[in-house]
Amino acid sequence: MPKFYSGAEIVFKCLEDQNVSHIFGYPGGAVLPIYDELKNFNSIKHILVRHEQGAGHAAEGYARSTGKPGVLLVTSGPGATNAVTALTDAYMDSVPLVCITGQVPTHLIGTDAFQECDTTGITRPCTKHNWLVKDVNDLAEIMHKAFEVATTGRPGPVLVDIPKDIQFQKSKYKNFKNNKKLNGKSHDNYSQKNIDELINLISKAKKPIFYTGGGVINSGTKASELLRELVYSTGFPITSTLQGLGSFPADDNQFLGMLGMHGTYEANNAMYSCDLMINVGARFDDRITGKIDEFSPKSKKVHIDIDPSSINKNVKVDLAIVGDIKSVLTSTLKTLKKSKNNFSKSNKHQISNWWEQIQKWRSKRSLDYIGSEETIKPQYAIERLYELTKDKDTYITTEVGQHQMWAAQHYKFNKPNRWMTSGGLGTMGYGLPAAVGVQIAHPKKLVIDIAGEASVLMTMQEMSTAVQYNLPIKIFILNNEYMGMVRQWQELLHDKNYSESYTAALPDFVKMAEAYGCVGIRAKTPEELDDKIIEMLNIDRPVIFDCLVDKQENCFPMIPSGKPHNQMLLGPKDQKEKKITGKGRTLV
């Protein structure tokens, strides 16, 4: 006689079989049967958040720092709609999430029942796929398929909507994992001919550059190792997108820093002037390309990506290699070694002029800023934070805005999966819950959320979660009392009309920390900054660090709206000379 399990039990049996150890969630009427089963499954720990958006971002932080899918469990109606921001965020940044939502009982669907919403309808455009479970006999297969879809191909969020009556109904359980070929839409679709062509381009290039993105990190730590090997064995310069930071060591001489709107002068100019661009797991996002007609006009472009729809979407490329980065890089290295042993030495002369040119751009020192002895410059705060934490294996999350860009520019990442930030969607409030998720996954590691005071208030309630689970996350707030990036754009584009970008009534973050039961620290001057940071690092509890920084500082360098890579604003002086006019003003 086969054993019969309730739908709720089947959910947990699937999670067990998928080796899920943590789920982030918030109970409610339509998921109560599932919550009732939690006690019978000891291998799965539930983290109670304070808002479903927090559950989503925490699951994202968990997923991005481990490479495993993040799981969240929320109720119907508002539970599901609150999770939508996090699902969209994960969709844009290719983060594998499995979201389980409760739904009103099957017979009430469509009646506008209490806490009913069309969850699968609402989340259809922000998930890779979603399912409404109408028959308990389908539940196990759907659950396993959900994990398969979330983690294969280009990763992303999926959602399984389970009506309450299905959670009570009984069925047999079958482990569908690895049972049959599931439709995760994985595309390893390239040939040795493509690789040979790439090697040919590499051997001919006089001004080459690697442009790498989050795909390298999503492909696993091995992909980052292979990337390093390839970059070293070619001697080519490399630049990275915001999401790709960490896949190549930032303190290496071949690394030109981040590219794009707030990227370095050398990275953007190299992108503009190169004759061979090798895009590895990036997607020619508009923050990267600048004005698309003048994007890298003279280069041959190679695009390595697992998602066929990313090829030729924004920028037409000369050679497309559709496949998993790890597998493509393995083949490339193998072919390179076979055909051109010791390539970096034999090719050194061919690209020496290029490196000379890059050094000239580098000498502009585009990340420099004007220091101050009275006020803490935000860049200085990040620099000091980096210097004082670089010997630890530190995980950094951020919110969205100026502080995020300064963190990307001035914090140097040497390992993948150490940098969690909301890039595609740009979700303010991402960093704090993400830090919760990262700390859950890495209880012994130092986890810092580099935050802005406006962003962090959007999900501040998750401090309560951090306190409940003794998660010693550090919330490092660069407090300039403004929505800094909004203020910067208003300064540059709207004649300094700072419409609604100043927060006139901020809470006292130190007292707030105390109210949450954690520790608050405030730094006001550059002189005391180091001591305060060290104080923060020595506390084994959650800390809110209120770093009062220069209120007027802008984030440079910057490619202004509607301009190509070679027309960057380097600092306040440029800002006056190259005023943004005309159509550029209408862009985001």
Binding site: K185, K291, S309
Partner: protein
């Protein structure tokens, strides 16, 4: 680059848009049409017409035929995005001018007029396989199959013969010859 998603492409080089017929084979499950149509509206692609029905009852496969206009780049994106949807099995794409593909739409015309006009109306339809589906002494319903533009013209020209109501399907497509699309 006409519908490029980049915020920077305001002065993009314009490619010429073409009319394409996209045929999609999907699992006939709840919400699948919404996924396909939502992809079009969400990404700003347009739909001129749409025809969908189950074609394989055993395997629950539906065939969706969509007529759309777009630049080569946009049409390519449509195909690649459609292929990413989990319930999608395969995607075919034909240009409207393609001589190897048959496109047909069906229309039902209702005429209310005297016998003379009704006869003239039937006469006018004779190039498009007209079938009289219903007839009374002051009205009839005629079914025709034709191309979209032909039906457009017909429904304009037939007004004078008492055309009062038009119902038409989206285009369906089939390749000529013995080959099938794999």
């Amino acid at each position: 680059m006409a519908n490029s998603k980049s915020a920077y492409s305001f002065a993009g080089k314009k490619q010429k848009p073409d009319t394409h017929i996209i045929v999609v084979w999907v699992d006939n499950e709840a919400g699948v049409l919404a996924r396909v149509v939502g992809l079009f509206s969400g990404r700003g692609y347009n739909i001129e017409s749409l025809a969908v029905a189950e074609v394989d009852q055993k395997q629950n496969i539906s065939r969706i035929t969509i007529v759309t206009t777009g630049t080569p780049q946009v049409v390519n994106q449509i195909k690649l995005q459609l292929k990413k949807l989990v319930p999608v099995h395969k995607v075919a794409d034909f240009k409207r001018e393609d001589k190897n593909v048959i496109f047909k739409e069906m229309a039902l015309f209702k005429f209310v007029a005297n016998n003379g006009k009704l006869n003239k109306a039937f006469e006018a339809c004779k190039n498009f396989n007209p079938v009289i589906l219903d007839k009374t002494n002051k009205s009839n319903v005629i079914q025709i199959t034709a191309l979209r533009r032909e039906i457009d013209t017909m429904s304009k020209n037939l007004k004078k013969f008492g055309l009062v109501s038009v119902s038409r399907t989206g285009a369906v497509a089939m390749t000529r010859g013995s080959e099938i699309f794999k």
